[in-house]
Structures are given as structure tokens and as C-alpha cells.
Symmetry: C2
Subunit: 227 residues, 2 copies
Amino acid sequence: MQVSVIENVLKLNDEIAALNRERFEQAGVFVVDMLGAPGCGKTELIESTMIRLAPDVKVGVIAGDLATQRDGERLARHTNQVVQVNTGKTCHLEANHVREALKSIDLSTLDLLFIENVGNMICPVGFDLGQSAKVGVFSVSGGDDKAAKHPQIVLESNVLVLNMIDLLPHVPFDADVFRADVRRLKPRAKLFELSALKFQGIEQWLGWLRQHLSTDRRAGRSEALTT
Amino acid sequence: MQVSVIENVLKLNDEIAALNRERFEQAGVFVVDMLGAPGCGKTELIESTMIRLAPDVKVGVIAGDLATQRDGERLARHTNQVVQVNTGKTCHLEANHVREALKSIDLSTLDLLFIENVGNMICPVGFDLGQSAKVGVFSVSGGDDKAAKHPQIVLESNVLVLNMIDLLPHVPFDADVFRADVRRLKPRAKLFELSALKFQGIEQWLGWLRQHLSTDRRAGRSEALTT
């Protein structure tokens, strides 16, 4: 009985995600689901990205958290298309959270929409939200073992980010160990190593985003990304 | 239907947790469930604690992770009573994981048992494992907003740890903001600020553990802790 309930929940989620995806594609908006542990710097990365892409790329954000409006308020300094979703005790965003949030977002004004998932390396990974791409964010302060310990986020993300490289002199983190774990799980993984706070190494990440934005614009739809 | 399934799962969990607790109390072992985000330094704190408490306090560990034996191997340098539990895709430990792990632990040799939960600030909080105390671990690198964003872990932990204070000069973290959020949620919260890596500020934490160990020994049981 438990299995069938979970299957039904996921099936309903997938149906709503498909509707979200259709809306995103019609609007020509590239939608990035940002996944990662609490404190890995998802909000910081979105903020730095918005600063660097302004004013030519219009960015919106749906920010998920159990509680507080803090991310929403922080991001509202850079865009008026931001919605905070508080999930209460729910450990991940579902497609329906996104559908509800879209009532307060004008997609026609946007090129790029970030969905900042609830800080959690595990539960959000399995939920399709209708995004164009999933980005798994790791941080240097979180330890070099986190890719190996969380294979699903590595496998299911289209792109990986290793954030907080400015802290490398101050923490025990062997970048070779981290990279080797990533390659073992996914030999062709796309990995950006950067510091969102210091804008260090951020250009490649921005280039990846821009590439998909322009693809969107030309084709009028999101291009399929390989995981 | 979904609600009743979840209720049944939790009811079964609580029954097994009660059996675990009975075993811990009979053995006079103080059992600490360590909760926190991936990369907040749970393993580091357990490791530093074992180093400082050796040889007079005998410590065992049940280490939970989705995948890999890395924590188990790391901790096995300090104790022969260590079991790694790999949960696969499950985002938290349940009482039954602990019951299974106890088949490989000799409680009669221990004073203190750490259960290092899966790295996740959300899902593990609601599951009773039979522990004597829950410890919620935060880290300076994770940002000063994490107590406010995760009220449940603050409310349900008996003790809070703010780890990685050695990184304060290198990251944007306002300790007053963090402390104020903790106090607002829980005015009498017990909070230890330390760096497990540098053994900085660790004495108060060790003192808290020792106090409960000796209580155990005298009374032959775990003393009830307030959350």
C-alpha cells in the first residue's frame, strides 16, 4: 500500500511538472533547478549570477525554504520577479509548489528562472519540477567526500558546481579526491569550480547559462540537456 | 490514505525506538543522535571528541550515509565499535537501522554511542531512534540564516553546536544574527560554539557529554534531557 501511494504522488507530480515545462517552453524561459545542501551557497550563486547578467538577461527566482522570507528578500534587491515558497516541514519542492509560485511570476518578462530548491542534497533530487536543467551545488567547506556520498545528485544533475573555492586554503579539502569521485560516477560530468561570493571562476558558469539562453531564444524552446 | 500510511510507519518506528532506548538504558550507554547538514562537520566533531575523551571514555559510532564506507573507515581509527549504515536513497536513519546496527555493537564495552545521522537538516529530525539526546550541528560556512530557516532542528535538539568557528574571518557570518534566531526560537537553548577541526572551544561540549556520562553511570540510566 505504501508503495502505491508514493507512486501516485510521483505520478501526479510528473503530470504537473509536464504542464510547468510546457509553460516554460512556450515562454522561452530557461529554468534551472538549483539543488544542494543547506549552506552550500545556492542563494549566493544566484545573486552573483544576477549581478553579472544584468541588465541584458532578465532573471526571476522561485526560492524554496522550510521557513522565513530571507532568501526572497535578499534576491528581491536584484529582480522584481521573485517568489518565496515556504514548505513548512516538507523537505523538497514539488511541481505543484512551482505551479502555485508561477501565479506571481510574469514569465513573459524573463529569460532565465532559477528555482532554488530547499537546502537538502537528497530528497529534492527525485522530483521533476518542469525545469530545463538541474544544477547540483557542492561547497569546499562541506568536505571532499560529498560527491561519493550523494551519487544521485551527481547522476541526475546536468551541471555540477563546486562553490567556495576561496576557502580552499582554510579547510581540509582535496580537490583531486572530489573530482575523481565525480568522474567515477559520471565520466563526462560538467563541473564548474568557483566562488560565488568572490566572483572567482564564475565566467564559465555564466557562459554555460548564456549558451542555453541564446539557444532558447533562437529555437523558441529549451534544448534537451544530457545528464 | 496517505496520512494513515505515514502514521503507521511512524508508529512502528516509535515502537522500535522504545526497544532501542531500553537496551541503551540497561547498558548504561549515553546515546547521542547527531543531526545536521551534509558537510557541517558531524564526523569531524565525533572524531575530535573521541580523541579527547580517550582512553577513559569508551565511544562507539553508528554512521549513517546514503553511500560509501568513508565515515566508518575514518572513525574506525579511533574505536573498534563502529558500524556504517548505508541507507541508499533514504534521507534519514530510522529506529530499525539502529536496531540492525546494534547486532554489530557490543554495548557492554561502551560509555557513549554516537549515531551520526544522514547529512540532512530536515528529514532525520522527526524520527526517534531511541537516543538519549539529539544534537543539532550548524556550521559557520553554512550561513547565519540556517537556524531561522530550520526551526524544527532547533526546537527538537537537546543541544546545538555551531561548528567551524575558525572560519569566521573568512566567511560572511554574523554570529549575533545566528544567536538571536536561536534564542527567539528557544530562549534557553544550550549552544556550543566551537571548531572541531582545531579543537577550539571544544571543552564545554566535552563537559556536557561527561556530565551525562557520569549521571548515567551513577544512576544506571539515561537522565531525561529537556529540549
